[in-house]
Structures are given as C-alpha cells and as structure tokens.
C-alpha cells in the first residue's frame, strides 16, 4: 500500500518537473557525448534523480551544498541554470565554471553550490569546514554533503564524520548508496555494508530511506536537516538508490547483470512517482506530457545556448589560478 503524496498538486508537479528536467538534460548529454560535443568524463545520474530532487527541496536557499562528480542533477535543482550547466559541458566561457571545470566540476557561488568534487570523499572535509565556519560565526545554516557509497571506504569519510560529530557541526551527510563504487559492489569493498553502523561508530544520528521515492527522500531529509538546524549535531542519511546507466561513458558494465538493472528500473523514480500522482488525481497524462515537453524545450534551448556561446580566449589561460594582483 503506497501512502498518499502529502503535497498539493503544484508542489508535487514541481518535484516531478525537476526529475524530468534532470532526466531529459542527461539523456541529451549522453547523446552529445556520442557526437563529441561533450568530452572528458561524463557521469550520469539517471535513475537517482529522486535523491537530488527530494533532498534539495527539503533544504533552504541559504544552506551550503557540496556534491560529487555525479552532480548535474544537484546543480540543476539547486538553481544553476541549464544553460550555464550545458555551456560548462561544452567548455564555454558562459559555463557555470567558465569552462574550466566541465561535467565533474559545476560550481555556483550564488546558490552556495560548492561543487563538483571528483576525488571520492574529497568533499566531506570541505563540508565539515564550511559548517565549522558557520558555527564559529554564529550562522544558522546546514551544510549538505552528497557522496556515494564508494566514499565510505575513504579515510576522508571517517575523518570528516569524526570531526563533525566531535565538534557537533551542522553537517548533513547525504550518502547516495547506488550499490557500486564504479564497478565494485558494496559487499565486495566493505566488511560492514550497513552504512548506518558506521555513523553509529561516531555517535552520529543516522537514517536510511528509499532513494527511489522522491517523497520519502524529501521527508527524511527535511526531518534530518531540521535536527541538524536545531543544533543536534551532524546527521548521516543514506539514500538507497540505483544508477541505471553505466558509471561513465567508458564503462562496459561487466560487473552487474542486466536483469538486476531491469529490476531496479521497475522502481524508477519518474514513472513510479507520476503513477502515484495519476492514481491520486494530481496529474493527468496530458499534464505529464506537458511537463515533459517543457523539459525537452528547456534542454533544446540550453543546447542552443551552449552551441552559440563563445569560447574563452586562450589569452586568458592563466586567469583564476590566483586572485588578480595577489600572486604572479
């Protein structure tokens, strides 16, 4: 028995819309990768959209976000324009990191989006520091740090978890457990696959939620963030999710069965959520198609923007290594 979606039609459709925007944008990215418009590494989030959408809708615009190299969705939902994201992937100066970062390094100061970190676990200490700065300055703010299940094997994870708990910092650790660190299954890399136990080792509050269900993600994140915001210290939230596509565009997927992927696809966050809304009378097929068409339109406009955007002059190659006037 599926519980009723506890949101009004407008908000529920917004969640669906954001998941659709990520999905359609990334499908286009994969296509553009095939044609060589986008290069470098491209890690698609397809299948995991409910995590970013649910989590980010539970946070406030003033909160800090730290993400990984699989962060297109987080950046988009956070409010970075699709134009700026697409231009970044095209390596254009109009990109959200001026073309210096690419797919793995989307940044946006305006929305307090601290990237786009492509070292597994690398963002966790950074999140601890952001939260420390807030605490020391008396600022009430949550720093939400996204990372995958692969990161829990890194020393950075354990050091950051300990520091955050030891200093009672307002960090929300958002673990998107998609069961594989690149091609290595969690049970092949961790002696303890119950990730909440790791949080308990640091006396940190923890919860686990169905990461394929945008409502469950949103509610769990809202509750966890509320505790963190209230000064209860850090929180470890595990989203159980699944990546439908390969790890990156170079991954032949030898490490998992097609049947397993297909089974998870049955729980796909887009169709399950839209089915629920339809069953509750909060969405008609026509409305769904309209949302989808809007997403497609936004993607087409973003691609057009990125195509037309200027490349930065190579005369500017050395800019932004150091602050102007600070060091040669």
């Amino acid at each position: 028995m599926v519980e009723a979606v506890p949101y009004d039609k407008a908000f529920a459709c917004r969640l669906l819309r954001d998941m659709l925007r990520i999905r359609r944008m990334e499908e286009k990215c994969a296509e553009l990768y095939g044609t060589g418009k986008i290069r470098g590494f491209l890690h698609l989030y397809i299948g995991e959209e409910a995590c970013a959408v649910g989590a980010l809708h539970a946070l406030t615009a003033d909160d800090n976000i730290v993400a990984t190299y699989r962060e297109h969705g987080h950046a988009l939902v956070r409010g970075v324009s699709m134009n700026a994201i697409m231009a970044e992937m095209f390596g254009k100066a109009a990109g959200c990191s001026r073309g210096r970062g690419g797919s793995m390094h989307l940044f946006d100061a305006e929305t307090r989006f601290y990237g786009g970190n492509a070292i597994v676990g690398g963002g966790l200490p950074l999140a601890v520091g952001l939260a420390l700065a807030d605490k020391m300055q008396g600022i009430s703010r949550v720093t939400a740090c996204f990372f995958g299940d692969g990161a829990v094997a890194e020393g950075a994870f354990h050091e950051a978890m300990n520091l955050a708990a030891l200093w009672s910092l307002p960090v929300l650790f958002c673990c998107e457990n998609n069961l594989y660190g690149m091609g290595t299954a969690l049970e092949r890399s961790e002696a303890q696959v119950d990730l909440g136990v790791k949080a308990a080792g640091y006396r940190m509050a923890a919860a686990r939620v169905d990461g394929m269900d945008v409502v469950a993600v949103l509610e769990a994140t809202r509750q966890a963030a509320g505790q963190v915001r209230a000064g209860a210290g850090p929180f470890f939230l595990e989203y159980q999710t699944y990546r439908f596509r390969a790890h990156s565009m170079f991954d032949p997927e030898l490490y998992r069965d097609k049947a397993e992927v297909e089974k998870w696809k049955e729980r796909g966050p887009l169709h399950t959520f839209s089915a629920r809304l339809k069953a509750e009378g909060k969405l008609s097929e026509k409305e769904f198609l309209k949302l989808d068409a809007q997403a497609e339109k936004e993607v087409a406009a973003a691609v057009d923007f990125a195509e037309r955007a200027e490349l930065e002059s190579i005369d500017d190659l050395l800019t932004d290594v150091c602050t102007p006037g600070a060091a040669p």
């Binding site: 800090n64 970062g101 970190n117 690398g122 200490p125 999140a127 939260a131 420390l132 300055q137």
Partner: protein
C-alpha cells in the same frame, strides 16, 4: 630586542588572532599541549578552545576542514605538525585548495594558511626528516614561503593571511631556537627574495634551514678572501626570478643550497631559471649543494653527512672559483 624564531612566530600568530576574529588556529596539539614546537603556548587560555582548536590525528580531515572554513568566511591557520605528516593531507592541498579557484572559474578562493615544520638535523630518521617544500612549490595556485630569519618569522604571517589564496609556510625545525635581534622593519614583502649578504664573486642561494648554513659559509669564505653574496629565496613559489637573475648578473657564479634531494629539487628549478635567463652572464656552470640521495639516517655522523653543511658550501664555492 633579542628574541627567538619561536617567539617571533608566536608574536605574529598572537597579533593575527587578537586582531581579526576570522583568524583561528587549528591542528594537532596546538591547544592544551601548547604546540609541538611551543609556538602557541598559552594561546588556548587566552583565546579559548574554539579559536585554538585541537584536532584529532586526521591531517586530511582537518586540512580539508581548514579549506572549507576559509571558503566559509574564516581565515584559518592550520598547523600540520610537520611536513612528514602533510603527506596525509596532500590530496586536500593539491586537489582542492590549489585548484578550487581555477576549477570554479574564479568563484571560490581559499584564503587558508597552512604552517608546518620541515627539515632534518635532529636525528629523527627517515620518516621525520623530510624537506618536501619543492613538492608544494610545484603546484600552481598556492604560495609557498620559508621564513629563515627572526624578521621573516615575525613578518610573513600577516601578508600570508591577507593573501586571498592558499599559502603554505615552512618553518625549519632547527630554526625555532635561533635567537637574534628583531629589527624595527620586520614587515615582509612575501613577493620578493631577500639579499642577506651583499657580495661580488659568487651568489649563494638558500632558503629555510640552509640559510644560516649559507651565511656561516659566507663568513668563512670572507676569511679566505672570497666575497660571497647570499640570497634568501624565502618565496619558493612563485620564485622571485628577478632577484635571482640580478645577483647572478652581478657575480657571474651561482651555488644553490637546498636540503631537498638533488633529483627534482627546488635547487634544480633555480639552476634551470639561471641557465634560461643568465646563461651568457655565467663564468662557470651553476653548482648545487643538496641532500644526498638517501633516506635520512638516524646515526648522527651519517645524518650530518647526508645534509648540506657549511663546509660543503665552502668547498663548492672554492671549487667553482678554482680558489
């Protein structure tokens, strides 16, 4: 006024902590212990445990936290006990602090100061005697400083904290007990190398713990009638090529002293720049006095043999001058 290098560094930190609420000190044993080298002795009582923050033995974690705190509006001084342990934090320094500004298209600067002791000479053996300044000096996006005098120990921190980008300060462990007069004009230009002794016949370049050795060698050379100029590189990245070249154009001979191993050393970079910029000013090939290519041994005589020493510098200069 005569003070120690340790005291000069302590005064600089005290001034920074007292003068700017964004500045805080974080690291292993900086608080209750008073600092491994006693540089922050008494600070925790004065500024409290929030601002003098003892950390667990988590170099990667707390250096990364320093980066985050810098992004979040603070001006952290992160003390990594020694360069040897900084290897555990290398990822955060190289993959985050140094690149964040560029990778974000100029949106996020990291105004972080990392201090660490460096160097050998105390029979601490292979794992506690590294001089890896050059590893950091290789990385674009960070500034690398090496105070070698009482004045620079007093004067380098303030401009380092004012730098909007990450700065690493290497304090040679052998220097903490160094005593000397603190001149009134201790303010430091962290963009320039410093001429520590004017001379005409040969330029001796050194930094950090090797500077006193170079000065001692220059004094001995003076007794032998050889007039050596001593340049304190002090800014290891970006190198002050202008001051280096000006000295070589004057003396036409160069000896570079570096406690790092010779292969891929900072000395190699200095020599390369001299050759690139002043080849036709040189009367002889530049010479390097570096550490022997061996993990630093424990036995005192072996350690001494492995490191640059005044006698080796004197010998190198004499050979260069055919004196």
């Amino acid at each position: 006024m005569k003070i120690s290098y340790r005291e000069a560094m302590r005064q600089a930190m005290h001034e920074a902590l007292a003068g700017d609420p964004r500045v805080f000190l974080m690291g292993e044993d900086v608080g209750k212990y008073g600092g491994t080298y006693a540089v922050s002795k008494g600070f925790i009582e004065e500024f409290g445990p929030e601002w003098i923050r003892d950390t667990p033995l988590s170099e990667l974690g707390f250096v990364g936290a320093g980066i985050g705190a810098a992004l979040g509006g603070m001006r952290p001084i992160v003390e990594v006990m020694t360069v040897n342990f900084s290897l555990l934090a290398l990822d955060q320094i190289v993959n985050t602090a140094a690149v964040l500004r560029h990778m974000s298209g100029g949106q996020f600067s990291v105004p972080l100061v990392v201090r660490m002791a460096t160097g050998a000479g105390r029979q601490l053996a292979a794992q506690h005697s590294h001089s890896l300044e050059n590893w950091y000096a290789h990385i674009p996006g960070i500034r690398v400083l090496a105070p070698a005098t009482i004045g620079d120990a007093r004067g380098m921190l303030a401009p380092a904290l004012a730098d909007p980008d990450p700065v690493i300060i290497f304090e040679h462990a052998q220097l903490y007990n160094l005593e000397g007069e603190l001149a009134d004009d201790w303010q430091c230009d962290i963009a320039r190398a410093a001429v520590r002794r004017e001379g005409s016949q040969v330029s001796v370049f050194a930094y950090g713990g090797c500077l006193p050795k170079a000065m001692q060698a220059a004094a001995e050379l003076a007794d032998a009638g050889i007039d050596a100029e001593v340049i304190d590189l002090r800014l290891l990245r970006p190198l002050d090529t202008e001051t280096i070249a000006a000295s070589v154009r004057k003396t036409h001979r160069a000896v570079v002293v570096d406690e790092g191993w010779k292969s891929g050393s900072l000395a190699a970079e200095v020599v390369a720049r001299i050759v690139e910029d002043c080849f036709y000013d040189l009367d002889a090939p530049p010479v390097r006095v570096c550490s022997a290519e061996v993990p630093i041994p424990y036995a005192r005589h072996m350690e001494e043999a492995a490191l640059p020493q005044p006698a080796k510098i004197v010998a190198a200069v004499k050979e260069l001058l055919n004196a």
